[in-house]
Amino acid sequence: MVKSTITFGPQHPVFPEPIQFILKVVDEKVVLAEPQIGYVHRGIEKAFELNDPKDNIFLAERICGICPAPHTTAYVRGVESLMGIEAPPRAKYIRTIMNELNRIHSHILWAGLLGDAIGFESYFMQTWNYREKVLDAIEKISGHRVTYAMNAIGGVRRDMTNEQLRGLEKTMDYVESSLENIEDVMKDYTIKKRTQGIGILTEEEARRDGAVGPTARASGISQDLRTSGYDAYGDLKFEPVVVNNCDSYGRFAVRWQELKQSIDLIRQCIVKMPSGEILTKSNNPMNGEAISRVEAPRGELFYYIKGNGSKKLERVKVRTPTFANIIPTVTMLSKGCQVADVSVIVLSMDPCISCTER
C-alpha cells in the first residue's frame, strides 16, 4: 500500500476560485483530505470597524459576488436592530424579492457548474442561458447585474414600479417553463451514476459537523431560517425542502426544488406587495449587541454586530455558510471516494471561497 499525496488546487480548472485540498491517496482512493484556505483572505472584518456604517453596506455586498442580497440584508437588519428601527413593509417585500431572485440565479449557476464538472457541457450552456434572463430582471430592478446595492439602513434605496413587477412575473413564467425543459436531466442515467451514492453525509454526521443550508437539508435536517419569518417571509406560505438521500444527488434535488419554491415565493410577493414608504430614516446611536441571521442560497448566514454608541461599529463578525460546510465536506471526502469524484463532492456543497475567508 503506497500512500501518495495529490494537491488539488489552488488554481484548478474546475473551480473558479482558489482552494487547495491536499489529498492522501491509496491507488485511486482518497483516504484523507486536508483543506488549505487563505488565498482569498482580505481582512474585511477589520475594514468594517474602520469604515462608516453606511459604506459597510457596499463592503458587505462584496464579501460574496454571488449572493450580495443576503449579505447586505443580514448587515442592515443587524444595524437596524441596534438602532431600534424597522424597515417599512414595502421595503421588506422588495428585500424578499431580491433575496429570492438571488437564490434563483445562484442555484442555476451552481447547477451549471456541476454540469461542467461532470463534463456535461451542453447542460452548463443551457442553464447559464436561462440565468441571463434572471440577471436581466435583476438589472432592470436594481441597475446592475451583479451588485444590486438595493439595501439601505432602514429600508431599500430603489422602489419597484408596477411595470417592473409585471415584467418580473413574465420572467418568472419564462424561467419556470425553461427549467421544466431541462428537468429530465435529473432522471438521466449518467447524472445519477456520477452523483448517487457519492459524497455521503448522514444525518448524524451533518448534525455533528454543523452543516447548514441545502447540504443539511439533503441529509434530512429540516433547517431553514426563512421559517423564522424575518422580512416578508412570515406572510408567505412555504415549506422547507427536505430530502433524505444524504448524497450529492440529494443536494442536487434540494436545490432543484428550491428553484421552484423561490419562483413561487416571488409570485406570492408580487401579489401581496403593499404600498407605502420604502425608507425609515433614523439617527439613533448604534448601541449594544445584535445577531442577525439570514438564509442565503448556501445556508445560514450569521452576522454578529456590536456597536458602542459612537459613529463606527466596534465589531462585525461574519460566519458564512461555506465556512460551516467545509468540515462536512472533509468528512465526505475522507470516506474513500475516487479522485475523479473529488470535484463533484466539493461542488455539491456549493463552495464560495471568497465568502469563507472574507
Binding site: F58, R62, G143, T147, E183, V185
Partner: protein, 122 residues
C-alpha cells in the same frame, strides 16, 4: 433523452441566443448604473459630500482650484455620490467606462471664461 431532443430541435428553429456583441450593441437598461459622470459641472459648489460619501474613496475634490477628480478604476458604480449631491451635478450613465491601457484620472474642472467661447476639449 426525449426532453433533450426537444431542446435540440427547438434550437434549430429558434432565434439565436447569442448577442453578437461588438456588432450589435445592446442599449443599457433604464436607470442602469454603468459609470458616474460629472454631468452638470457648472452647478458644482465643491461641498465635498460626494468624496465624503464615496465608499472606495475614488473622488477627490479640490476646492481651491475648482476641480473634481475621479479615479474611474476605483469607482464601484454604487451611485451614492449621485444621491448625495445636493446640486445634482453627478449623473449615473448606463454606459460603462471603456477598458484602458494606463491608469488615468478623470478631472472635471470649472473655468471662468467668456460665455460665447465653446469649452476647450483635450
Amino acid at each position: 433523452m426525449p426532453g433533450m431532443l426537444k431542446i435540440i430541435f427547438g434550437n434549430l428553429f429558434k432565434k439565436r441566443a447569442t448577442r453578437l456583441y461588438p456588432f450589435e450593441k445592446r442599449a443599457p437598461f433604464e436607470n442602469a448604473r454603468g459609470s458616474m459622470d460629472f454631468a452638470h459641472m457648472e452647478n458644482c459648489i465643491f461641498c465635498n459630500l460626494c468624496a465624503k460619501n464615496c465608499p472606495p474613496k475614488a473622488i477627490t475634490v479640490d476646492r481651491a482650484n475648482k476641480r473634481n477628480a475621479l479615479d474611474p478604476l476605483r469607482c464601484i458604480q454604487c451611485g451614492v455620490c449621485a444621491e448625495a449631491c445636493p446640486k445634482k451635478v453627478i449623473e449615473m450613465r448606463g454606459q460603462y467606462n471603456e477598458p484602458c491601457y494606463a491608469k488615468r484620472t478623470h478631472v472635471a474642472a470649472q473655468v471662468v471664461k467668456c460665455a460665447q467661447t465653446p469649452p476647450e476639449q483635450k
